[in-house]
Amino acid sequence: MNYENVDELVRQNEDIRKRLEDAEQVIQAIRSDQVDGFVVEQEGSNKVLLLESAEGPYRILVERMHQGAVAIDSDGRILYCNGRFCEMLRRRTDEVIGAPVHRFLASTSGPLGADSQGEFGLESADGSHTPVHITVNSLQDARAAAYLIVTDLTDHKARQKAEQAAAVLARELEERKRAEAALRASEARLAEADRRKNEFLAVLAHELRNPLGPIRNAVHVLDREPEGPLVAEARGIIERQVTHMARLTDDLLDVSRVAAGRLLLRRKRLDLVQLLSEVVEDYRGTLEAAGLALEFPLPEQPLWVNGDSTRLAQVMGNIIHNASKFTEAGGRVEICASESPDGKSALIAIRDTGMGMDAEALERIFDAFSLGARMGGSGQEGLGVGMALARGLIELHEGSIIAASEGRARGSQFTIRLPLLPEPQPDAITVHAAPALPRSYRILVIEDNPDAADSLQILLRLMGHVVKKAYNGPAGIEVARRFRPEVVLCDIGLPGNMSGYDVAHALRREISPGPAFMVALTGYGQEDDLRKAHEAGFDFHMIKPADPKELEQLLASLPV
């Protein structure tokens, strides 16, 4: 051996020492199970040989999971992850291994707790976020502190979104369908109302024209034979037809007043049983003439209500009138009054064995213009406003009215319910003063319409009173100073700058002793007018033209 070059020898020695060191390290690493691959030379090229470890099958299983699987140490550093997790991150495994797991969670996500689970966002290499569900499971392992199972929720979210969108769409469609149906129904109702209105107008014209024929004939009779024996009959015809027309127009006016809220009730405490008896008596003749049997068991107890006797009588009369009109001879009309089981209401039931109504007619019977509801082509006359008026009046009394029928030709029943008043105090019941003879009063009429003032003066004089009149406010006050009236009837809408309210003020203030009783006369019957009249000092309020009968009753009832 030639050792001429010592440096070369030292260099070789050093190289051998390093290789030996490497070999020792390799052996040590193999012994301590730290390597699992070797580079070997085969046929002039390098190849990698891998040691199959016992955990191989498990690794395959984990690698093929649909979920991401991640093992982390106590600092949250990724010790191992499967390919699926890297796919979710769109990163290579070697970029992921060793990195802290929180680096891959979207900043909006909360921290990962031990043994917790929840939804997080994974931040991919391209900055996009993937919604995932992560379950964290603690491990009792030397190195790994926990493993995570990561489930991609993208499809799930998309499906959820699609389902939500479908639900919203379905809801919108449903709403639209409903709206369309409502629109169609409302259109149909409008068309029906229009049809009924036209029908009503046709019948109204017919109804108003009908009485004119007999009246014209009667007038002819009176023209030809002003003194003959037919005069009484002709007068009777005219009287009946005019009454019929008046009733028709009154009903129409009342219905429109109720609808407009302009109808005022004159309510007082009254016994409904008493009132019903009177109405039934009025119709007894009509029912008998129509060949109908009447059953009216009178209840023993009075039924006290707060009502307008004229209006309630009108309603009950209307129903009884209908019962007689729509029931054939030989039928029966039953009327009964009772207290409701709870003791809070008075009930009046009017039942007939007549032609009855089908369901459709029942539904519309209380609508104005629902003529034909009970007509059924039988040729019975009627405008159909009677029932609308009845309902309006009963509702003004805080009551209700219902109609029932088991069908055509099976009779009808109307039930009126009104709130009961408590029983009167015993000492109040028996005060039935004997009707006093009509007293004569000094009465002042203040009214700007001369015809109205004059006729009222004549009427009051006929009743036995001393009457003076004035055509405006100042004149009225002047007359009052001298005349000292006990009763003043004063128009509200007076000419000049002194209204009826001003007159009342002045009379109350300036004249002593002033009039005992002041009555306001107005063309309106609004609640507001009532209140103003009361505030001005009026005791009573009458709508023009004052009904003579009502006026007579009022004067007869004065306490002075």
């Binding site: 390290q25 193999i30 390098n46």
Partner: protein, 107 residues
């Protein structure tokens, strides 16, 4: 095929900068473990002044020649000089630190 991961290039001072090359063989358990351990170790002790280059010998076995790699995983310290080699998955932190001649950071 080799992947260069420049996790920190802020300082390039030769005395202070650690250029490391890790040889692995795909995603074997030891390869994964070595990578995880190395990243943890570097973040703890060499934060901000190291670079790790990962070389997958399964993809490119010929690259084993350059550093005469026999076993996998093997870590090679290219910088600072001299070149040093640590064979194994770096699971023994003390041995890894001694092998790389890294001074333990005192907290």
């Amino acid at each position: 095929m080799s992947h260069k991961n420049s996790e920190s290039e802020s300082t390039r001072d030769a005395r202070e900068f650690w250029d490391l090359r890790l040889y692995i063989a795909g995603e074997t358990p030891k390869s994964n473990a070595a990578l995880a351990n190395l990243r943890g170790l570097c973040e703890t002790h060499l934060s901000g002044k190291y670079r790790i280059e990962v070389i997958d010998l399964r993809q490119n076995p010929e690259l084993a020649m350059a550093d005469q790699i026999i076993a996998i995983p093997t870590l090679v310290r290219k910088l600072p000089m001299p070149i040093r080699k640590i064979i194994g998955d770096l699971s023994n932190t003390d041995r890894a630190l001694v092998g790389l001649q890294i001074e333990r950071r005192i907290h």
